[in-house]
Structure formats: structure tokens, C-alpha cells
């Protein structure tokens, strides 16, 4: 197997090690710990009062807007990294091109800013 693939196989081993370690600890604890559940213990915690309504309540839509903005900028990072590894090879041409790209993205951020999307209301 090539060295390249072996590197990825190491990741699989590490993932398995993490799951095994967690399983081992949880299994060990399962043997030792007591288990005497009752209705009050299994109730959702709401500062000592009986829970009102359901736990899966609706949440603000604002998180959605930030998630969208995040996706835009994260994709930008994917384009910047390959250029960043060989800035010297591309020289001034690369710098100017990338600056135009960054300014365009900044323009998007400024637009969202002006539209009040970055306000946490």
C-alpha cells in the first residue's frame, strides 16, 4: 500500500482508538455505577420546576443567516489556500488577482453589514 494511503489508514486507526477508549471507559463505569431511575430523575431539568411544553422548542432564524455567511467565506478559504502555497511562483499577477477576489468577498461582507444582517437582534 502506498505511503499516501497509509497516512489515511492511520486516521482510521485513531478514530477506532477513540471509540474503543470511550467504549472501554463507559463499559467499566456501567459495571460499577448504580442504576435506580425514577420518574423525577428522568424529567427534563428546568431549574427545579416541572418542565413547560416540549424540550424541542423553536429557535431563532438568525442562526441560519450566519450559517449561510459562513459557507460563503469557508468556500473562499478553499480558493485562497492553493494560491497561498505558491505566492512566489505567481508573483505580482497572483497577488493582484487574489486581492481583487478578496475585495469582492469583502464587498459581500459589507453588503450584509449594511443590510443589517450582522446585527444580532
Amino acid at each position: 500500500m502506498s505511503l499516501f494511503l497509509r497516512d489515511y489508514l492511520t486516521i482510521v486507526w485513531f478514530g477506532l482508538a477513540a471509540v474503543l477508549l470511550a467504549g472501554l471507559l463507559l463499559g467499566l463505569a456501567a459495571v460499577v455505577r448504580p442504576s435506580k431511575p425514577n420518574k423525577d430523575k428522568l424529567m427534563a431539568y428546568e431549574s427545579g420546576v416541572d418542565p413547560v411544553g416540549h424540550g424541542w422548542s423553536q429557535s431563532q432564524v438568525r442562526y441560519y443567516v450566519f450559517a449561510l455567511l459562513f459557507v460563503i467565506f469557508d468556500v473562499e478559504a478553499v480558493f485562497i489556500f492553493p494560491w497561498a502555497t505558491s505566492v512566489e511562483r505567481y508573483g505580482w499577477f497572483g497577488v493582484v488577482t487574489m486581492l481583487i477576489f478578496i475585495v469582492l468577498l469583502l464587498d459581500g461582507l459589507v453588503y450584509a453589514w449594511k443590510r443589517g444582517l450582522l446585527r444580532w437582534v
Binding site: 485513531f14 478514530g15 442504576s35 430523575k41 428522568l42 418542565p51 416540549h54 442562526y63 489556500f81 505566492v87
Partner: protein, 350 residues
């Protein structure tokens, strides 16, 4: 790469790597909890901290694990039990997958990816899934709020972190963490190579942004709204008890250690010492004893950086949620984009 005197078969190498990885995750986590959380915090608050278990309370960690082990493992009746059980494992998994890229010496690495930086930044955000899943599956209003806040915060601070690293990649001309270490230890400051050139000197703005983003990614105060004890009762962890809670706890401090490892690789010169001290030219010339000294150097740098993270944590009050988002989007992201532009122009000009 210098070669070892004897060949280890592939399964042996993998076993050694995995054992090394477990040590690299658990040892920093334990040390951080004892030195900083137990002792430094106590001293900063004019008290002694744990003193009973072992000399200076050094066995306190074992006592804590023993205590957690005896706690009942409660799953709320409304919770989505399967996912609720898996969530802490996902958080621990992300820590283990993150430590894979950290190089500890010229040959002491787990993997040697060409795009190591990319991998680290990608895996660094996997823990969000664990946290979001924990908050959702608990069927608790505090947990849901905490989980959403955590997700909103982690994605907001993921961006400055990614963009701050671009500056380092531009300077080193590589995304391979090993080559970034070598670059920092072989470059010269104005023709003088006595100290190498740790990127903390040339990329100080990037370093600051990176450390702020790490603080937020770890949800340490002043960025601890997702787990705010006084309002959200530990947020996504509200319903967790016993060993599952402990796994979240281990994951939190282990991730602090791993992020500090990555920060020291990117900005503080990693495992290396300036190569000119011993007349090394490339990574092939580096003596074998660096494989032993490297992890020690990395550990020292990790403790220094985590010390700073914890110092900030114990010193500052919590931000408000809107201040947090404003800081990320309106301050850190524009500055880090500017940093990329300036770094690139300087790199080409000189």
C-alpha cells in the same frame, strides 16, 4: 528523514502511533486540568485548591475519575437516547482525529499529509457536530439553546482561524506541518539565523487572531456563552451525568492541548530548535535525538500556550452573545483578510 536502525512492521508502527496518540491526547489533558484548572485557578483566587489526595493534591484526578465512575448515568425520558449516548464519543473522536496531524519530531509524526493544515482546520470543526447533537438530543430548553449558541459561535470563529493560518502558509510556502516547522527553524531574520524565524514574530497579528479564535472554539471564558453556568446551566451538557459528562470534560481539555500543539507548530517553531545551532541544513540532517527531545519541546510550548488561554479564562467576564458575533464578523474577519493581503504583498516584494 533519517532512518531507524531496525525495521518495524506496519502493524507495529500503527500500534506505536495509536499508543502515542492516546498519550498525546490524555497526558496534556490531565496535566492541564491539574496544573491550571485545579492549582492555577485556586492560587489566582487566593486559595489552595485540592490538597488532600496525594502530595499537593496530585492524585486528585484519579479521585475524580473514581467519583464519576460511581455516578448514575441518567438519560431523560424525552431524550433521543441513541444520539444522546453517542454525542460525547463524537467530541472525543474529533480530538483524536485532530492530534493525527501534529508532528512531534523529525520522524516522530503520526501522519505526514501534504495538506496537513487543511486537514487540521477541517477536522477542528467536527466537534461542533457532537455539541449540536448533544444539545438537540437532550430535549431540554437549556441544552438546545446552548447547542445552538455553540454552533453559532464555532462557525463564526472558524473563519478568522482559517484566514489567520493563510498568512503562515504564505510565508512557509507549504501546507505540510512538518515543512512549516522546518521553515521556521531554517529561515533567517535579516541574514541572522541564530533564532530561526518563528512565525509569531512576522505573523503576530495572525497569532493573536488564531489564539482568540482558539479561545472561542474551546468555549472558554470570555467566550463561554454556550455553557454559561449562571444562565444556561452548562448549556448542552445540562442533562449529562456520570461518565458521559466526564468524556465531554476530557474532550474539552484534550482539545485545548491539541489546539495549543497546532498553534505552537504554526507560530512557535514546533518541535524544532534553530537548525543553525547544530549546523543542520534540512530535515534530513536533524539528529535522531530530536525524536526524543521534540515531544518535550512541544509539551513545554503547549503548556505555555494553554497557560495563556487559562489565564485569560480566569481573568475576563463573559461577553454577551451579540458582542461575540459582532467581534468575529466585524473585527476579526476584516483584520485577517487585511493580514493576508499585507503578507502576500510583502512576500512578493521581498
Amino acid at each position: 528523514m533519517s532512518t531507524l536502525a531496525f525495521e518495524i512492521p506496519y502493524w507495529g508502527q500503527s500500534l506505536l502511533r495509536v499508543l502515542g496518540g492516546i498519550v498525546a491526547v490524555l497526558l496534556p489533558a490531565g496535566t492541564i486540568v491539574y496544573v491550571f484548572l485545579f492549582k492555577m485557578m485556586s492560587f489566582m483566587q487566593s486559595r489552595l485548591g485540592p490538597m488532600e489526595a496525594g502530595p499537593y493534591g496530585s492524585m486528585q484526578l484519579l479521585a475524580e475519575v473514581g467519583k464519576w465512575m460511581q455516578k448514575e448515568d441518567l438519560i431523560p425520558e424525552n431524550a433521543d437516547a441513541k444520539i444522546y449516548k453517542i454525542a460525547p464519543v463524537i467530541v472525543l473522536l474529533s480530538t483524536f482525529l485532530l492530534v493525527v496531524v501534529v508532528p512531534f519530531g523529525p520522524d516522530a509524526w503520526f501522519t505526514n499529509f501534504q495538506a496537513g493544515v487543511f486537514y487540521a482546520l477541517a477536522i477542528g470543526s467536527v466537534s461542533v457536530i457532537g455539541i449540536l447533537v448533544a444539545g438537540w438530543s437532550s430535549a431540554n430548553k437549556y441544552s438546545l439553546l446552548g447547542g445552538l449558541r455553540a454552533a453559532g459561535q464555532l462557525i463564526a470563529y472558524e473563519l478568522p482561524m482559517v484566514l489567520a493560518v493563510v498568512g503562515v502558509v504564505i510565508q512557509a510556502g507549504s501546507m505540510n506541518l512538518q515543512q512549516i516547522v522546518v521553515a521556521q527553524n531554517t529561515f533567517e531574520i535579516f541574514g541572522w539565523n541564530g533564532l530561526g524565524m518563528p512565525f509569531v514574530v512576522t505573523q503576530f497579528v495572525g497569532f493573536l487572531i488564531f489564539m482568540i479564535a482558539v479561545q472561542a472554539e474551546l468555549t472558554q471564558a470570555p467566550f463561554d456563552m454556550p455553557i454559561a453556568e449562571s444562565e444556561l446551566v452548562s448549556g448542552y451538557m445540562t442533562e449529562y451525568s456520570g461518565f458521559r459528562f466526564l468524556i465531554f470534560f476530557i474532550g474539552e481539555f484534550a482539545t485545548a492541548g491539541v489546539f495549543a500543539f497546532i498553534a505552537s507548530v504554526l507560530f512557535l517553531g514546533g518541535w524544532g530548535i534553530p537548525f543553525s545551532w547544530f549546523g543542520w541544513e534540512t530535515v534530513d540532517d536533524v539528529d535522531d535525538w530530536m525524536n526524543i527531545a521534540g515531544p518535550g519541546i512541544m509539551f513545554a510550548k503547549m503548556m505555555l500556550l494553554v497557560g495563556i488561554i487559562m489565564w485569560v479564562r480566569f481573568s475576563y467576564p463573559r461577553f454577551r452573545e451579540d458582542q461575540l458575533q459582532r467581534f468575529a464578523w466585524k473585527v476579526l474577519i476584516p483584520i485577517s483578510l487585511l493580514n493576508i493581503a499585507v503578507t502576500a504583498i510583502l512576500k512578493v516584494a521581498f
